[in-house]
């Protein structure tokens, strides 16, 4: 039985978890760094404790200090939120060792999905589609030719030591493969000191579509539909929506089934997200699994009316899911804008400071999850998300219009935010059409 929950996080997600705990009648403990002395999560929790100076390494990432805070306050559970230690298997295990419930999956589940190759192989075994490619490193041109013939062009040659988009070359036919294979090998050796390369199918016009999973400890797993997170800037999500503009009931069923199958294959419990990449022909492939609650869980809550944090805590308490897949209905359309303290006119550089004036939009179908207030000084040590602006409407068109209205209403003075970017995005014809891919923002120019 859980009575008191320590929230090992800060910002809006700490408030979100405190709210859910309060509604469930659970006591809460917040932890904070010295830089978060004036942060709202301190005020919202029943108890509050300072665990270190400003740096995350000394506070929100410091396992002994967090465990110590839980022990001295008598907290019997820890909710990790997202980021920081949320996907740290060691942390989950240490909590367990101290008889503190970790509200999330077990260490084994976190570690299994944390390693990308293991995760891919696990999903492949479970029958979840994964991006076709070589099973490991490709050493000869003949081996490469044979693999490419099997999976079909276009393909990508990837340096095993590369990352972040470096060491990748797209190959459209066998002639190009013969020409480029030795070049990519040599480049990989020169750039990364490792000539190892592998092959993966190149996904044209990719969309990022993820499925929300909810699983109890009794083997019941459901999916709560998809979230389209294709609007990204350098892998940083800026806008999320559900349903996806390209979704059909048939595709949702197929992808949802695959997501549930994947989660079941590792006996998953708690909330989780299975991320897929979807190509122009609506083929989908497993990318990775996030074994935690996500920033964009809110839009799923809006269309399903299921409180995900509450459900996450209840399944941790051992309760069975009180609904089946067929009971879950998706109603309307929801969009979330991540409002960051960043200057969109200066390459989205962080722009923290003191908020001198603040007004959040409101009205029918509007939700704002935020930890900022007028007079609040945003610390420079943590991430730049300051508010999540979420709208719900009966249709995508209505949701877009509602979001445009909200973006007109919002006032955040004293700092620079991504609001001007969002305003222009919601006027963009391509965005409104719903026909775009993950590269959309590469060519998006701010006026």
């Amino acid at each position: 039985m859980i009575k008191k929950v320590l929230i090992a996080n800060r910002g809006e997600i700490a408030l979100r978890i405190i709210r859910a705990c309060k509604e469930l009648g659970l006591k809460t403990v917040s932890i904070h760094s010295e830089a978060d002395k004036y942060s709202l999560h301190r005020k919202f929790a029943d108890e509050d404790i300072c665990i270190g100076p400003a740096s995350p390494a000394d506070t929100y990432l410091n396992i002994p200090r967090i465990i110590s805070a839980a022990l001295i306050t008598g907290a019997d559970a820890i909710h990790p939120g997202y980021g920081f230690l949320a996907e740290n298997g060691k942390f989950a295990e240490i909590c367990e060792k101290h008889k503190i419930v970790f509200i999330g999956p077990t260490r084994e589940m976190i570690d299994l999905m944390g390693d990308k190759i293991t995760a891919k192989n696990t999903m492949k075994k479970a029958g979840v589609p994964v991006i076709p490619g070589s099973d490991g490193l490709v050493n000869s041109i003949d081996e490469a030719k044979s693999i490419c013939k099997d999976i079909g062009y276009p393909i990508m040659l990837k340096a095993t030591a590369g990352g972040g988009g470096r060491g990748i070359r797209v190959i459209w036919n066998e002639k190009e493969l013969i020409e480029n294979f030795p070049i990519v090998q040599a480049e990989a050796k020169a750039a990364f000191g490792n000539p190892g390369i592998y092959i993966e199918k190149f996904i044209e016009n990719p969309r990022h579509i993820e499925f929300q999973i909810l699983a109890d400890k009794h083997g019941n797993v459901v999916h709560l539909g998809e979230r389209d997170c294709t609007i990204q800037r350098r892998h940083q999500k800026l806008v999320e929506e559900t349903p996806s503009p390209i979704m059909t009931p048939e595709l949702r069923e197929k992808m949802g089934e695959a997501a549930v199958k994947g989660a079941k294959s590792i006996n998953y419990k708690s909330v989780g997200t299975i991320e897929f990449i979807v190509d122009k022909n609506k083929n989908f492939y497993f990318m990775e699994m996030n074994t935690r609650i996500q920033v964009e869980h809110t839009i799923t809550e809006e269309v399903t009316k299921i409180n995900l944090i509450k459900e996450q805590i209840m399944v941790e308490l051992g309760e069975k899911l009180h609904f089946k897949q067929n009971d879950i209905k998706f109603n309307g359309h929801s969009i979330q804008c991540r409002i960051n303290c960043e200057d969109p006119y200066n390459n989205f550089a962080p722009y923290p400071g003191k908020i001198t004036s603040l007004h959040f939009p409101a009205g029918f179908g509007v939700r704002v999850d935020s930890h900022i207030y007028s007079g609040y000084e945003i610390p420079t040590y943590y991430d730049s998300l300051i508010a999540k602006l979420i709208v719900w409407a009966n249709s995508r068109n209505e949701a877009i219009n509602r979001m445009k209205r909200c973006l007109e209403e919002i006032v955040i003075e004293g700092i620079k935010t991504t609001v001007p970017f969002h305003k222009q995005l919601f006027e963009n014809k391509k965005f409104i059409s719903g026909d775009y891919d993950t590269h959309f923002l590469d060519s998006f120019k701010l006026k």
Binding site: C50, R65, S68, A69, I72, H98
Partner: protein
């Protein structure tokens, strides 16, 4: 009216803050109005201010001499070298800079609380075996 009475009353009022005095007997009435608000009260308030200034300066001197020792981490505070050890310092004991004052156990790992200056322990703010948060004041040392 006897001028001597007026002079006598005036003499009595010297050094007081009374600025108006009236006495009535039968038909006669003596009213004395004194100009005390300027010089005398001003002097007095100046003296008061100076006294306060001196007090503040003395307090500041004491404060300057006082150093607060705070917890280096979050955990349980022990007065001894170990969980069961005897208290390392008592009120009014003299400590040398760098000497151990106590420990804070953060999940089984002790972190030392060390005197940043030499001087006398004038306050012990947290009892033995009590939970403390990071940077919580534990001792006050008056520098020598």
């Amino acid at each position: 009216m006897n001028i001597e009475i007026v002079e006598y009353i005036n003499e009595l009022l010297k050094g007081t803050k009374i600025y108006e005095f009236t006495i009535e007997r039968g038909d006669s009435k003596i009213q004395i109005k004194r100009n005390v608000s300027t010089n005398e009260t001003q002097k007095e308030s100046e003296i008061e201010n100076k006294k306060e200034e001196i007090q503040v300066k003395e307090q500041e001197k004491i404060e300057e001499k006082r150093v607060t020792v705070c917890s280096p981490t979050v955990g349980i505070f022990y007065h001894g070298k170990t969980k069961l050890g005897p208290a390392l310092v008592k009120l009014n004991s003299y400590v040398k800079k760098g000497s151990l004052l106590g420990v804070v156990y953060c999940v089984g790992t002790p972190e030392n609380v060390v005197a940043p200056v030499s001087g006398t322990i004038v306050e012990i703010l947290v009892s033995n075996r009590k939970p403390v948060e990071y940077n919580q004041p534990l001792f006050v040392i008056e520098k020598e």
